[in-house]
Structure formats: structure tokens, C-alpha cells
Symmetry: C2
Subunit: 204 residues, 2 copies
DNA sequence: CTATGTGAATTTATTCACAGCA
DNA sequence: TGCTGTGAATAAATTCACATAG
């Protein structure tokens, strides 16, 4: 295989493949062809083969892919194999839902600290984690937490991001419905669930 | 302006523009240039002008865009100007968070019915809406609800989708972490918040 | 003189078609 | 023979550059 820059779209799809492979694995499917995986995921075989080919030979010609091996490889490519500690900031409705969402640990994430600004919430426990004062974000570096999840109102998003960056996080998942600026070394992914709903009527 | 097929990516960005324009409008900004909007949204001016150009002349040369007018136009393009009633299925942690999420009404959505399968929840009220038995989904057509939001476990997603399709919805926002199949006339958008988190370490 | 609107150029991503390996 | 892996062909999206309108 020659060198190729890996398309962003391929990286975006890897977690989808991983999710599907984990489902197959849970059903004790140990082998799958690009055709079979494509049907399971609602995509097409060429796309899957092309995406995998950027990383080298994952499969066996005439046979298909080994599900367990593929899971390991994708986990390594996405750097999920090392495990990641995350801090959640903002324990409103959305924050509480995020905290109890089972999907994160599927990918090796552990929300190990929770912060809020509301004095009534600070000190209380939620999912066995004590809610800390947002002013204590400075402790993240010492606690090896390099990932922040923001579930605060839009008005507070930028200052929360700034505080997280100062605390040394390298990646931020932003649920606040606005654009935030960060230094280039930090990666932000913004999710606004209403945005996706907003384009649904166009297609209906 | 000559005819152009509108790129999917442009449609994906329209709600982002709309969100930004609504913010500007709330700050009493009535005029904005592609440059100014781009900075506000973290994108670039060419992209914005190109996207708008697919729909005709929205701006005034030498001046910029009228914020209010632009909001109206995008709302119309996305068919958000008519308002949409949605039904939520599944009132777990995530469902409850969705129900209280303020972002939906920003785009003219009204979650006007809530369903669950758990007998202990049925009949209870949440956000002033009575939780109904999931077996009553058939009433949606009569109630002019054409949009479904699914927040059930993955195992139940396909059957829930089937029930919603049978009840006549034309669009589905799926929060269950799996691919679901529908007839071509129905549009599904799947959101899995863990998928986005899963590609963050790659960039860190 | 400023900022839009848009063909053309470039870059990026998808699809195809088939060689090559188990 | 069956399914992967990958260059080549095609399609789609982004970026540029500048003519054009207010």
C-alpha cells in the first residue's frame, strides 16, 4: 500500500464501522464481508473497502474481515485503545442525560469528573460522582483528564471553553449551540441536536 | 441565476447559518456581510456567498445581507416557516433531556405528544405533556403529527421506526445508536452523540 | 469603492472495474 | 472461485478571481 492522506470523511465513518462491528461481535459474528457489513450499516461495499484500504490490508481475499481484529485496528487508529478520561461541565437536563448515556464507555470513555456553577448542585452526587465547583477546573491536569464535555447555556460556552483550555484539555465536545474559538492545538467538535432536526422538513 | 442542483452540504449548513443569524438578530444586528457572518460562525465568506447564491440574490452588493430577510428566506427554504409537530418516543434520560431542550422551538418545532412502553410511566406528566402508551401511535395522523423523535434502546429502534412509519410520519430523528430501514418516502436522520466523541482522540 | 454573485479552477470524495491473492 | 485492495474515472464540493451592481 502506498502512502495516502486519510480523508476526513473516512475518519468520520470509522466510529460508525466500529459501532456496527461491535454489534456483530455481540451477536457472535466473527467474520464479515464488505458486502455484509455494508448491508448492516446501510452503506456500500466499495466505500468500506476503500476506507479500510487507507490503513493497509485488514481482510482476507476470498473470505472477508475478522470482526475482532477489525475492532482492535479501528480502536487503535482512533486512539480509543488507551482509554480517555473526560470532564463534564454543566449538569442541567442535557448534562444529566449525557452522564447516564451508556454509549460513551463503549468507546473507552470515562466521565470521571462533573462540574457546575450552581451552588445548590455543588457537593451533590449524580451517578456516584460528586458535582464540583466549576472554579476547580484547574485540577484536571493533575487528574489526567484531557477531554471536556460542555453542556452549558450558549452564553456561557466560550468562557467554559477558555477555562477548559487553560486546564489543559486537548479535545472538547461542545453541546452548546454556538461556535467557540480555541487555540489550534485543541480540537472542538460541536453537536447541536436541533440543527439536525432543522434540516429534516426540507427532505420530507 | 441559472439552475443548480443544491448540494447536500449546503442544506446541512443552512441551519448553522440560521442559528447564527438568529443570534445576530437577538443582538439587534440588522445587517451583516458574508465576511462578518463567516467570522461569527467560524467559516469563510466564499462558502456563505456560494451557498446563498444557489437560491438567488439574497444580498445587496456593496452593502451585505439583511439579517431579518435572510432568516425568513432560510426558514422558507428549509420549510420551517410552517411549523411542525413532533412525537417523542421513549422517555428515559435522553428522552427527558430532549423534551426540555429549548433548541427545538427555535426552529418552529413543537413536541406535542410523548410515548413510552413502560406502564409505570404511562399516564404521568412530563413538561405538561401526558405520557401515552406506545400502542396509541396510530393517533398521530389524526393529530397532524408528521415527525417522530426516537429515544429508545437500540434493540427497540427498528420496531419503533416501523410503528412510526405505519402511523404516517414523514421524517424521523433517531437517537438510537443503530441503522434503521424505512421506505424511501420517509427521511431518517440518526444522531449518536458518542460517535462524535469517538473521533475526537484521533485529532488530539 | 465595497461586497455580492458566479463561472472556472482546484481540491476532495465517491464509484467503478478489475488485478491479485487466499 | 470469491472477495479484497486499489489505481483510474467520475462526481461533488470548495476555493478562487473577478465582473457586476448598489
Amino acid at each position: 500500500m502506498r502512502y495516502h492522506r486519510i480523508p476526513d470523511e473516512t475518519i468520520r465513518r470509522l466510529p460508525i464501522y466500529l459501532r456496527g462491528l461491535l454489534s456483530l461481535s455481540a451477536e457472535s459474528r466473527h467474520q464479515v464481508s464488505s458486502q455484509g457489513l455494508a448491508e448492516f450499516l446501510g452503506t456500500n461495499p466499495w466505500q468500506i473497502r476503500k476506507d479500510f484500504s487507507y490503513f493497509g490490508g485488514f481482510g482476507k481475499r476470498g473470505v472477508g474481515y475478522d470482526v475482532g481484529k477489525l475492532i482492535k485496528q479501528i480502536n487503535r487508529i482512533l486512539k480509543l485503545d488507551v482509554g480517555h478520561k473526560a470532564a463534564l461541565v454543566g449538569v442541567g437536563n442535557l448534562g444529566a442525560a449525557i452522564l447516564s448515556y451508556p454509549g460513551f464507555k463503549t468507546y473507552g470513555f470515562d466521565i470521571s469528573a462533573v462540574f457546575d456553577i450552581n451552588p445548590k448542585k455543588i457537593g451533590k452526587k449524580i451517578n456516584k460522582i460528586t458535582i464540583e465547583n466549576i472554579s476547580k477546573l484547574g485540577s484536571l491536569k493533575r487528574r489526567k483528564i484531557d477531554l471536556g464535555i460542555i453542556a452549558v447555556p450558549g452564553e456561557a460556552a466560550q468562557e467554559t471553553v477558555d477555562a477548559l483550555v487553560k486546564a489543559g484539555v486537548k479535545g472538547i465536545l461542545n453541546f452548546a449551540p454556538c461556535y467557540v474559538t480555541v487555540p489550534k492545538r485543541v480540537k472542538v467538535i460541536t453537536i447541536d441536536i436541533a440543527l439536525d432536526l432543522a434540516r429534516l422538513p426540507y427532505y420530507m
